[in-house]
């Protein structure tokens, strides 16, 4: 399985980690909630869990808990700008539907 970042996403993550001053990488995950079933989690990682699956992409460590991994396989995280709005976006091949806001999805 694979989960990755785009170059742009990796650059931004590195910048935020530098600014924060500490942290091993970032956690990508999903949890049930939201208007369309599942919602993404995107957090800094200070302490990893032993069961985490760890990927590296452009020098950034990605921590994924095994339960989330099945929903995220093949996902690429990008950093995009839309007008004045900017932030991270998940391109997830597993998703079948998405709420209008893109913050939650169904598989």
């Amino acid at each position: 399985m694979s989960i990755s970042l785009t170059q742009s996403a990796a650059d931004h993550v590195k910048k935020y980690l530098d600014n924060r001053g500490h942290g091993a990488g970032i956690r990508l995950g999903v949890r049930t909630s939201g208007c369309s079933g599942l919602a993404y989690i995107l957090e800094f990682v200070d302490d990893s869990n032993p069961e985490d699956v760890v990927f590296s992409s452009f020098g950034v460590n990605l921590y994924i808990d095994p339960k989330s991994a099945i929903y995220l396989d093949g996902t690429e995280m990008d950093y995009v700008k839309e007008g004045l709005n900017e932030g991270f976006q998940f391109n997830n091949p597993n998703k079948k539907g998405e709420c209008g806001c893109g913050e939650s999805f169904t598989v």
Partner: protein, 619 residues
């Protein structure tokens, strides 16, 4: 679609629950807005990537107006209708404003609240400032979405009560929920992360377009405390420009200049100043209204011209160090803020004075907004882990006029805020039934040398012999630095009470009227907007109180109290479903009243915990 930001561990929030807040630097020359994304403070730019908006508003025919670059571009051809540097006028009376140097027609009907006569009517500085704030806020909404919790707006530390109140009114007029007014130097120190460093004393030297501020801050034990603040509300980079322009005029042989020619000369001066931050010499060509001149300005001449102004700022620096009881050798960091500190002569003279290598790694034009955004983010609860507390101070002493024109200071300058101070006064004549109170701000001993904030009369004192009445006057300064005063006669059970909010000459009804006029919407829209705001407010109260009940409801409340609060919660939740603005408002008020005792008990409990345990020592 909404894009994601990186959260702190364990603090991912459910979709649609993101909380955003912004920091706004409402500057004399330029204004800008910033926010925190993925833990990092960033300025919000427009689609062309521009961060700053020139603080310029041009009034056009009808109700049209333009703000920013487009307005600035026309300042020369239409000076009477193009308002620049409005920050120098906000909260000021006609006497305080240097009207001779300005191209505007001021209305003189109310000298305490001057307005500028423009082609689209009389405009108060509050209204002009509100237009700038609207542009920034609109930009924030486009970038972050509609659900912005509010804004921290920065003011010079040296701003007095009237100027702060006026700034807050401008934000109100622009439809912005003000989380806090924050001193610019404090904001800058936060942006540099000085609040995360080891304990120490820091100095922030802020030379902006129109104001100069210097603050001494102490960071220790998670508290960032302003020890003293000082400065000059009428000194800034604009004065550099003016000095250079006067020098240029001399070089031209001192011709008579009309307002457009003078404005053009000021622009030339500003450009020269900016070029000289990187070059040794600048060639100048002036051409305006038939007048032509060319010549050059060297950095040496520039330095000689502006050094007296910089020396003037050092006087304020000495005073503020005196107040803070700090010597130059105790200072850890010197932070430079404001575009004018880009001139090498400024950083060199100031660095020498404080015996410090100045910090200037963050863009001095952005640093204040960036810090304000960090504080806004903390205030709405997004930064739980490294929570720090900012303790600000009153910049000027607050007092009352006594017999003979003397001032009795109730709250001395550099008092930590919020602060409440009460003092008892008495009557000086037999049978006296009223007492006039005159509230002033300033350091001098005589009333005429201080700034008058408000006057009111306490009536209904029962007739007594002179000196028998006990009149308790209470000054209260809130966390935004705003003062309210109340007076009460306490004798043989008789009480009289009056309250006044000092203003810059606009009364409450005028503000309300301006607010109504300012709504671009039809009346119905504005009602819907009020309803929506009230519903958001209700949601906030409910969330807060339910959270508190979850933690302390069982421990601190008896069944009866709990039942009463639950009833009010249900009532408010019900009224929120309906569309009746007044019902929601009433529901909020009633729930607040019903939980007053609960809130007091919770505060009591956390203070008692701190007192009884080791917690005070641990903190």
């Amino acid at each position: 679609m909404a894009l994601l930001q990186i959260a702190e561990p364990g603090q991912s929030i459910a979709p649609h629950q993101h909380k955003h807040a912004v920091g706004i630097d409402l500057g004399t020359t330029n204004s800008l807005v910033a926010t925190v994304r993925s833990g990092q403070s960033e300025v919000i730019t427009n689609t062309e990537g521009q961060a700053t908006v020139p603080s310029v508003v041009r009034f056009l025919d009808g109700k049209e107006l333009v703000v920013g670059v487009d307005a600035l571009r026309n300042a020369e051809i239409d000076p009477e209708n193009t308002v620049t540097s409005v920050k120098r006028m906000i909260g000021r009376s006609l006497d305080d404003i240097n009207t001779a140097e300005l191209p505007y027609q001021f209305t003189r009907d109310n000298p305490k609240a001057p307005r500028i006569q423009t082609r689209s009517g009389k405009k108060s500085p509050v209204e002009v400032s509100a237009e700038i704030l609207k542009v920034l806020y609109r930009r924030s909404v486009e970038s972050l979405g509609e659900d912005i919790e509010g804004a921290v707006i920065t003011v010079p530390a040296y701003f007095d009560d009237a100027q702060r109140q006026a700034t807050k009114d401008a934000a109100h007029l622009a439809g912005i929920n003000v989380l806090r007014l924050l001193s610019e130097p404090t904001a800058a120190a936060v942006a540099y992360g000085l609040d995360k460093q080891a304990e120490g004393v820091h100095v922030v030297y802020d030379l902006g377009g129109g104001t100069f501020d210097v603050s001494v801050l102490l960071f220790s034990k998670g508290v960032f405390e302003v020890l003293a603040t000082g400065g000059d509300t009428a000194l800034g980079g604009d004065d550099f420009d003016s000095l250079i322009a006067h020098w240029l005029k001399e070089q031209m042989g001192s011709p008579e200049l009309d307002s457009a020619q003078w404005r053009s000369l000021l622009d030339l001066a500003r450009n020269a100043k900016e070029t000289l931050t990187e070059q040794e010499k600048v060639n100048l060509n002036y051409s305006c209204g038939g007048l032509q001149w060319s010549g050059a300005l060297t950095v040496e001449t520039f330095n000689i011209l502006v050094t007296p102004l910089i020396k003037q700022t050092l006087r304020s620096c000495r005073k503020v160090m005196l107040d803070a009881k700090i010597g130059a050798d105790e200072i850890e960091d010197l932070v430079l803020v404001g575009g004018s500190t880009r001139s090498p002569v400024v950083s060199s003279i100031v660095g020498d004075f404080f015996e410090c290598e100045p910090l200037c790694s963050i863009n001095p034009d952005h640093v204040v907004a960036l810090g304000a955004a960090l504080q806004a983010d903390a205030l709405i609860g997004n930064r739980r882990e490294d929570e720090i507390l900012l303790l600000d101070v009153t910049p000027l002493s607050l007092g009352l006029e006594l017999m003979g024109g003397l001032v009795e200071k109730l709250i001395p300058r550099n008092s930590t805020i919020p602060v409440t101070r009460a003092q008892e006064f008495t009557t000086y004549k037999d049978g006296q039934t009223a007492l006039a109170l005159h509230i002033v701000q300033g350091e001098r001993e005589m009333v005429e040398d201080c700034r008058s904030l408000a006057q009111f009369t306490l009536r209904g004192i029962p007739p007594m012999v002179a000196g028998a009445a006990k009149i308790r006057v209470t000054f209260q300064v809130d966390a935004d630095g705003l003062l309210s005063v109340s007076a009460k006669e306490i004798n043989s059970g008789v009480e009289a009470h009056v309250e006044v909010k000092p203003s810059y000459g606009l009364d409450e009804t005028e503000v309300t009227k301006m607010l109504q006029e300012s709504f671009d919407f039809a009346r119905q829209d504005s009602e819907q907007r009020s309803l929506r705001e009230q519903q958001v407010e209700a949601g906030r109260i409910l969330e807060s109180i339910k959270g508190a009940l979850l933690v302390d409801g069982t421990r601190l409340l008896c069944n009866r109290e709990r039942a009463e609060i639950d009833t009010k919660i249900n009532q408010l939740e019900e009224s929120m479903q309906g569309g009746d603005l007044h019902a929601v408002k009433r529901g909020c008020d009633e729930l607040n009243a019903a939980t007053e005792n609960f809130a007091a008990k919770r505060m009591d409990s956390s203070i008692s915990d701190a007192l009884s345990g080791q917690r005070v020592d641990d903190l």
